[in-house]
């Protein structure tokens, strides 16, 4: 199958299937049709714009430009964390950005150098999709972990003080909440690793096979990316919690803020 060959007409054929679906949802009073139309239109528009943009970046294929693009993705992801975790004060930005940048950059370079084994280490073809997958996972993991950590801490504030009252230091008293938060962030990946290939073929592998790669090549990539994903999920979540605690407690170790 030649993936370059999807014509815009074929593409429109696919939309035809939406019509019976919308008819059924309308009959069933699901009232999702408006949302559905908007969502599908948005998706087409967004992906088209990204596609056009990426075409240019891929054509230029300059290492610094690819890196800049990755940095912008990190910046957007950091703002997203600040919003989702209700940590909107400016000092949180550099901390969260750093927590994204460190593990993801290391993993991305490692992947390009040793797994993909490419000549140009920052080639667009590898850097951008790999960074995208790693960053998307880090984003998800950080939001889960940070929210869990601070909501557990808030709920268990009396227990936290009781442990300080038993001569625990701040870092000793928050350790159990830290542990739970990291486990919560890791669990989805562990669960999907356990069933990978049995229940569904993972997205990256599917994409490569559709693009013409041999299944065995696709599997090597998939194993490497799953490991990389697990590592960045863990490292990014741990770093973010660790570093935000410096801002989230006052000088008497009292949890501050929302």
């Amino acid at each position: 199958m030649d993936t370059n060959g999807i014509s815009y007409l074929n593409f429109l054929y696919f939309l035809i299937f939406l019509i019976p679906m919308m008819a059924v949802t309308w009959k069933m009073n699901l009232s999702v049709n408006k949302r559905l139309v908007i969502a599908v239109s948005r998706m087409i528009l967004q992906l088209s714009l990204v596609g056009i943009f990426l075409q240019y970046i891929f054509k230029l294929d300059k290492g610094w430009l690819n890196l800049l693009y990755v940095f912008l993705m990190m910046l957007v992801a950091s703002f997203s964390v600040m919003k989702s975790c209700n940590r909107k004060e400016a000092p949180y930005l550099p901390i969260i950005l750093f927590s994204f940048a460190l593990p993801n950059t290391v993993m991305m370079l490692f992947f390009n150098r040793f797994i993909a084994d490419i000549d140009v280490i920052l080639s667009a073809q590898h850097t951008i999709p790999i960074a995208g997958m790693l960053l998307g996972n880090s984003l998800n993991s950080i939001i889960i972990a940070v929210n869990r950590f601070y909501s557990d801490l808030k709920e268990g504030e009396k227990e936290y003080f009781m442990m300080l009252g038993m001569s625990g230091s701040r870092s000793e008293a928050i350790r159990p909440y830290f542990r739970t938060a990291l486990l919560t962030a890791l669990n989805p990946t562990l669960a999907s690793i356990e069933t990978i290939g049995l229940v569904a073929l993972p997205g990256m592998m599917t994409g490569q096979i559709l693009g013409g790669a041999l299944p065995l090549t696709a599997i090597k990539y998939q194993i490497a990316i799953m490991l990389a994903i697990m590592i960045v999920r863990f490292a990014a979540a741990a770093l973010t919690i660790f570093m935000t605690t410096r801002l989230a407690f006052d000088d008497f170790d009292i949890p501050a803020g929302p």
Binding site: M163, M166, G168, E172, F252
Partner: protein, 208 residues
């Protein structure tokens, strides 16, 4: 005159537009037992939380052995004070594991607590033999309070701050607990509605 062991000087605190403390002062001698009395909402628990620095106040100072409570002396305060909250808010874990976690804290590593010591204390406070393998939520309120006291005894700090520590116990246990705590010559700062504290001549009652 010798400077007092622990003193609270001109404490002011306003919470939600209500002046909870205005120029409140209190001095406590070493080895003294002080009972804070006052209607609920008068700030007894709040005052107890201020001493180890779990609650900030607007102005005034707390001084322990000549050292003022601030971020530089925070560790000094916390390593000399143990605090048991109202309801003894321990995390819901296995009792033995929780004890081990607390004993692993850097400030507690010098403490040796053998399983026998723990078991003896459990007996002394009439807790069930299998308490160490229970989870915190499997304990009743009164059992949890006694566990809080046992932990405090094991940690052996100089100042013991205890918020309503006997409220959920039956009269006999209240008596036993008060007698035990008062016999140890520790500096106790308590709140309680139970009469055996108030009626004991060794206890100084302070009205809020």
């Amino acid at each position: 005159m010798e400077s007092p062991y622990l003193s609270l000087q001109n404490i002011n605190l306003k919470i939600k537009n209500q002046q909870l403390f205005s120029d409140f002062s209190l001095t406590v001698n070493k080895g003294e037992a002080v009972l804070l009395k006052g209607k609920s909402g008068k700030g007894k628990s709040t005052l107890l939380k201020m001493i180890p620095g779990f609650m900030k106040f607007d102005s005034g100072s707390i001084i322990l052995e000549g050292k003022e409570l601030n971020r530089h002396n925070l560790k000094y305060f916390r390593e000399r004070i143990s605090y048991v909250s109202q309801d003894t808010d321990l995390r819901n874990e296995n009792v033995e594991q929780l004890l081990q976690e607390i004993l692993k804290y850097k400030a507690n590593r010098h403490i040796s607590c053998t399983p026998e010591t723990f078991r003896d204390l459990i007996r002394e406070f009439h807790l069930e033999e299998d308490t160490p393998v229970k989870k915190i939520r499997e304990l009743s309120g009164g059992e949890r309070q006694r566990l809080g006291i046992i932990l405090t005894i094991i940690l052996d700090r100089d100042i013991w701050i205890m918020d309503e520590i006997t409220s959920a116990m039956d009269p006999e246990l209240k008596k036993l607990t008060a007698e035990k705590l008062l016999s140890l010559n520790k500096t106790l700062i308590l709140t309680s509605h139970d009469s055996q504290w108030e009626n004991d001549p060794r206890v100084r009652v302070v009205e809020l």
